[in-house]
Amino acid sequence: MSASAAQPPTIVRPRRESISSWPLADRLAYGLCWAVGIGLCVVALGIVAFMFVKGISALRPSLFVESPAAGVLQEKHSGGFKDPLIGTFIITAVGIAIATPLGVGIATWLVEYARPRWLARTVESAIETIAGIPSIVLALFGLYLFARPMFSFLSASASDGTVTGLSFINAGIIMAVLALPLVVGTTREALLQLPARMREASFALGKTRATTIRRVLLPSSRTGIASGAVLGMGRIVGDTAIIVFMLGIGSSKIEGLGGTPVLGTLRGTGTTLSAYIYYYAPTGDGNSPNKAYAAGFVLLMIVLALNALVTRLTLRSEGERAAVRGIGRRMWAWERWPWSR
């Protein structure tokens, strides 16, 4: 009795399921799943690595502080991408500052009110439609809309009085439309995930629906709202068509209209990194591909940083965060990789 008690029990390892018992079709599909999964990682890593190599070799500190030389469409481009970089930040800020309150409002209405039903369904389809419109079509529409005389206060006018429709604020409004479905989607998800008993608890204290939304529901879904905003920012940062159409072909500097500094800049034209890449790329008019690579690298870094921010925001529990950190540690622990043994 006592002898056997002192012995640690032998751990029986049950035999695992063997793939050889599967039908051939299942085995093939299994292999295919693995292959495409790994293939996707290879593609993603390949793009990032390509941009790293091409971008870092072309990157110069001077690029960040110099404005592009005038007339990007002419030969012999020079200068840096200071203005496009600032322009990217301006357009993102304008776009998301418009899209976030609108999107949160729409999502709140859809989740908390949604009466009459037919209107709610219409709003939902409208959001889906907007999400499906190609940004170049949005840009075309935006250009038509903001070139109307009634919107002359938003952009510069030519000497004969025609409104150009080209300005940061106009482009930002159209960018907001582009980002809106993302903000609505994530906010809606966040609100839907809040337990019904949270609303009940507030109603049972004699709070109105509006108070409940403002003081309990929206504060509780702020991570969802924030990640929607960040996703929308990622969308705005990368969009080119709207910039090319609505900030002006050939703008290379941020050119404010006269008047107050901030308003003048918003009403003025400029350019962004995405448009800069478009003009400088090897295929188009550009003959400075190195600068396009450098700018592309910077743009990629911005987008990756925004993505990392979304991941960080949406990981609710400490456990999930620890798991992601664990993946990171495992990736960096080179000595534990098979070829290091």
Binding site: R197, E200, A201, F203, A204, L205, G206, V216, S220
Partner: protein, 310 residues
């Protein structure tokens, strides 16, 4: 080997025939109504003292008169009449689906959240039909604590202060200093103050389940209600937290009328003064706890208490 002897059964001493407290000042429990924090009568005490005594009959607070409740076409409560009195705990017992929770929720019109809910009969609060009272005003006078502790994801302080803020006749952005005495008093009444007094800014969700439920009770008490509805408040809690909350309920009935829905017959026996047994939407039996549990008049009550169904 030592014989295991069962520990003595823990019973909470409850007065089966409670003295019904007259609602006129001075305020019970809080001495002369002076707040221990500020030394001046707290706003809570002042408000309670300012209540017109005549408007409140000494005992009966709510009256449920031949009430039937339906969700759409389905009647879930049929022709129930019950009094809700201050100074006593009314226990609603019955099997699942007997309509007791629906009846409870109808007392502060929380059933209206569900589409298609309808009611026949009268429910009055201090003689006034509750349909005539503005719904949010009613819910501040008749507050509710739910089965699952449901504190908001904010600090302890904010959870209680939320009940006080944005009430009519109050500045929307009340400063913390003005709310703090009331928040602390509500926590004290819910028996939670000692445990959290040091750190009111802790997130409420970091509390234990029992503490969270007492926080919910504090939140429900902060608005200084006349009736407190408890929907199986202990079913998600461990026995020790349950005992703490049961003691609290017995204490609180001095100042508020309490209605508790429970599946737990022992709990009903421990805390309730009057018990109503419901079955399939009907009120089968209503009487004092002793009478219902020891000499049930109805066969169905006898079967339920004896464990025949439910």
């Amino acid at each position: 080997m030592e014989r295991l002897t069962p520990p003595p059964v823990r019973r909470i001493a409850t007065d089966r025939h409670p003295r019904v407290v007259t609602p006129t000042p001075p305020v019970d429990g809080a001495g002369n109504g002076a707040s221990e924090v500020t030394g001046t009568p707290s706003a809570l005490a002042r408000r309670r003292a300012a209540r017109p005594a005549a408007a409140y009959p000494p005992e009966e607070r709510m009256r449920i008169e031949s009430v039937s409740l339906a969700y759409g076409e389905k009647w879930v409560v049929r022709d129930v009449s019950l009094p809700v009195r201050r100074g006593e705990v009314l226990g609603l017992i019955g099997a699942s689906g007997s309509g007791k929770t629906t009846l409870l929720r109808s007392l502060n019109r929380l059933t209206e959240i569900t589409a298609g809910a309808g009611r026949a009969g009268r429910i009055t609060l201090d003689g006034e039909e509750i349909h005539e009272i503005e719904v949010n005003a009613l819910r501040r006078r008749v507050t509710m604590v739910f089965q699952q502790p449901n504190p908001f994801p904010m600090s302890i302080f904010e959870n209680v202060a939320y009940a006080l803020r944005e009430a009519p006749g109050r500045r929307r952005r009340a400063r913390r200093a003005t709310l703090e005495p009331e928040v602390r008093e509500a926590l004290r009444r819910a028996g939670l103050h000692e445990e959290v007094a040091e750190d009111l800014d802790r997130p409420a969700l970091s509390l234990s389940g029992g503490q969270q439920q007492r926080l919910c009770i504090a939140r429900a008490l902060a608005a200084d209600p006349e009736v407190l509805l408890l929907d199986e408040p202990c079913s998600a809690l461990d026995p020790i937290s349950t005992a703490v909350i049961e003691e609290l309920i017995v204490e609180l009935r001095e100042s508020v009328a309490i209605v508790i829905v429970t599946h737990n017959l022992q709990q009903a026996q421990r805390v309730a003064d009057h018990v109503a047994f419901m079955h399939l939407g009907e009120l089968v039996e209503y009487g004092t706890a002793e009478q219902v549990f020891e000499q049930p008049r109805q066969q169905r009550t006898r079967d339920y208490i004896g464990g025949a169904f439910g």
